[in-house]
Amino acid sequence: MEWGTLRAEQPVVTQLLQHAVWRERLPHAYIFEGEDRDEQLGAAFLLARAFLCSNNDPAAKPCNQCSECKRVQSGQHPDIIIIRSDGLSIKKAQVEFLQKEFAYKGMESTRKAYIIEEADKMTTSAANSLLASLEEPEGEALAILETENLHFLLPTIVSRSQVISFRPLSEASRQAHLREKGETEEVAAIKARVGNKPTSLEDGERTNWIVQGRQVVIQLAEEVFQRPLQAKWLLQDKWHTHFNDREGLDTGLDFLLFWYRDVLYTKWGREDLAYPDQLERLKTEALNRSESMLAAQMKAVMEAKRYLAANVNPQLLMERLLLRLQEGSNFASSDWHSL
């Protein structure tokens, strides 16, 4: 990661860090806190590189040309120590090793950098022994603690560090990011919006699950719109078999919510859709629905999500939702009368 790429996502953070580097006024310890661990780690390594870079001009750091920069990038620099959780937690022995490193002067220069990944995974005793080193660091040391859960860190550690909060990524940039990683447009669009749910699945599995899930949702929305009376069969046949646990169902409801939001967006002519490949269907539905109708449908989905959180039976919850969705449909009422 470079300053440019970081600035695109996190202008405030970049400003803050760059100024610290330019003025050579880095604090002893930073906490990088936010949702996207990759981004935070990228920023941590970028800062460590800038800290160790041997270029004389602070504005040019990191130069990526000098031997320090290159070795930090290839993970071979002796004066940068990285602590990763070993299994579920960061053990006391790891922090003790870190303390020893804190006590020594750097191998090549007087500067030393430490990066602790997932700092919230430090056991309490590990965190406590780190405290002393953070409090009165000797020499020029820079510690970067990276975490997703700032509140799991000891307050005494937080108070000794400068907390940098990373703004959550925008949907659009997350989508672009996923596209770069080689996801298809449709998958990237929905993945960017759904976050990392459902968390129980591995990455590859999750992609499959999402691809299938969004098909089910598209079908259901289609049925509700075109053939409301058949929608119930689909519910039994596909919905409950795919979204078969609580978290899955919750994600499924998110998918449905995105659908109705997409209809609304299409109505307004916006192009940042969760189902970019379904533009035709969305347009047809948008033509036949009023804004208030769509609002009611989205509200119904939100309500279903709330019921789910309150442990309502999924079957009942979905059937009720279906009825509420149909209420908003002109076709539904006309069909009903014709029967």
Partner: protein
Amino acid sequence: MHFTIDTNTFINGVQQANKAVSSRTTIPILTGIKIRATATGITLIGSDSDISIETFIPSSDEEHEYITIHEEGEMVLQAKYFAEIVRKMPGDALTLKKEGQMAASIASDNVVFNLNGYDPDNYPRLPQLQEEQVFQLPQYLLKDIISQTVFAVSSQETRPVLTGVNFTITDKELTATATDSHRLAMRTISVEAEEALDIKNVIIPGKSLVELNRILDDREDMVTIVVTSTQVLFKIDHLLFFSRLLDGKFPLTSHMIPTEGKTTVTLSTKALNRSLERAMLLSREVKNNVVHVKSVGTDQLEISSISAEVGKVKETIEATDLNGEELEIAFNGKNISDALKVIDSETISVLFTGAMSPFVIRPMNEKQMIHLFSPVRTS
């Protein structure tokens, strides 16, 4: 890089450098040995980041020609395999040649090994030597200084500076100090250096010194010591031993050493040590090796130790000279015993300043060594 070298000479060099290599390293490249071939000879470097050893094998000396350099260059090879391979080579000479980007072929007689390596540009840089803070002393003396101080360093990381030995130089006098805050060992010695050389607060980790002590011989040859901002270098013939320094301020110790006391005792080193060891037989486990000492008359010390569960011991030893107030004190016998082991004088003099204040042990034949201990409070 391409050279042919006498196998035995190379084995020695590789083994020297390999001493610094550890399998547990923070960065992968430190599992390798760096080999640099220049027209004058071969340099081998091994390091675990705390200590680094660089050896130089000259192409030839007056008698022999050891190396033929075909092409200069650098490479880094996995120490674990490389050291073993070199050691097991059958022929009198072996040839090492760089193959492709980072790999090497090592050949001797009919044997050829191909070994993958690391990019030598990624190997950590050893400090550039500015020969400003330089001094010299004979190997055997350096060895003495180390063994007479390093035992007293703290084994606990709570105060990291105390895990090292502090070296200072003023007026061509080197002082090495180690303390774990309960005891202190200090050795002073005159060294060869520039008149104006003033070195302060150079704290060398105890672990590094122990390692260095294994390499040093009891010889009269001079060791050159160079201090840089982050590391200290010991130059011994063709071997360079680097150690990282400890960061931080070593506590000021000069004012701690009392010059006047209430009681002075002179006694035999060996007798005291044996007596302490007997006393500690009982107190070893339970009470932090607490040993009580009491003066009896003007020529005897009573040494006792009590352990409620185990039993007690009492003995008297002769003191050649006992002056001043009556004495009753308790201390950690292990600390005293450790210090007595590194004193080679037949007799020692002990200066007590009171039951609750520190006392000093000095060897009678050596004015430049001081051991300081704090007593233990007992009720």
